[in-house]
């Protein structure tokens, strides 16, 4: 699992490449936390994310809650069919701001 960061205006886009599961989630969490220090608008782009387990969902939830607590904003986009199904069954698509594409995610993000 690699995380690639791209700054766009006042937003930070993090691309998760690979699997976000029990093995990779702890390191992903540490990396994401570093970005949280200096960024208030974060988008997780899952275009290259093959699979997300419950350990991965925990990273999403933690990020959303930390940003909410500091007055920041969080979106997820580009989930593949498998990941979207996981987001839907777990109900995360109800409690998090999930968009279909990166274009949608960067639009009116405030």
């Amino acid at each position: 699992m690699d995380i690639v960061s791209t700054a766009k205006e006042d937003m930070l886009i993090l691309d998760f490449v690979g699997q976000l599961d029990t093995g990779t989630a702890p390191r992903a969490e540490v990396e994401v936390n570093k970005y949280l220090e200096n960024n208030q608008k974060i988008i997780f782009n899952l275009a290259q994310t093959v699979f997300v387990s419950s350990a991965g969902l925990r990273v999403f939830l933690g990020t959303a809650k930390k940003l909410k607590a500091s007055g920041g904003l969080f979106r997820i986009c580009n989930a593949n069919q498998v990941v979207q199904e996981i987001l839907d069954i777990s109900g995360f698509s109800q409690i998090l701001d999930v968009k279909n594409s990166l274009e949608e995610a960067v639009t009116n993000f405030n």
Partner: protein, 275 residues
Amino acid sequence: MGKEANESKDIANVIAQKEQEITLLKDQMVRMEAELNLAKDIQLNMIPISHPDFGGRSDVELYAKLISAREVGGDFYDYYLLDDNHLAIVVGDVSGKGVAAGFMMAVGKALLKSRAATDYSTASIMSHVNQEMAANNPDYMFTTVFMGVINLAKKEMTYTNAGHNPTFILQKDGNLVKLSTLHGPVVAAMEDIVYGESVVSLSVGDVVFAYTDGITEAHNSTLELFSEERLCESLKRPFKNVKDTVERIVLDILLFERGEEQFDDITALCVEIKE
């Protein structure tokens, strides 16, 4: 000579330091191993027996099985009679592993049972338990929960699915019905969630099958998943009894994995409605 003596003293120091580090790491490993064992104990001591006889009653039979992965996941199941006519069943999967997951499991299981003692609405039970658990959750943990309250006299089940895999009903005529409705997100993730519930009619001979994603996400060496499709195939075979259904599916998974290590806990709970 002086220089050489100093060098060998330095080397001795480095060796001593490394030995100390190794001892520390070994101690740490022993502690971690102990923690994992403790987590496994918490998990296995918490689940009720596989095949209860419910005081000899003949109108219902239940069989459940939890196979713990090497590194403990957070599966749990539970069942209890709320009164003469109502049987509650619960299957859940806590995010994360280890002692933290074990504690969350214990708390969730206890809260569900305690609320169900006076409240037979699974929607209301889930909403209350979620509120309680989400209020104090600094580690962002959560648990999926399927809870059903089966009215054994009226032959119907009220159920709430909180972010969990859909439960199946194998009807006596061989039809397999998937309870696809989701009633809200996983428990403990967010406060102020109002969960819904559904009611499904049951007939004598119908079988309720609840399980965790350790079954559908079990995989073989080529990373192919056991999948819901294979689970349905297994469930569609002629029904003998609840124990046979669960054990046969466990065997199907083992044969599918062909020696691959089991990564996640596997849980199945099966209830047959009888005369």
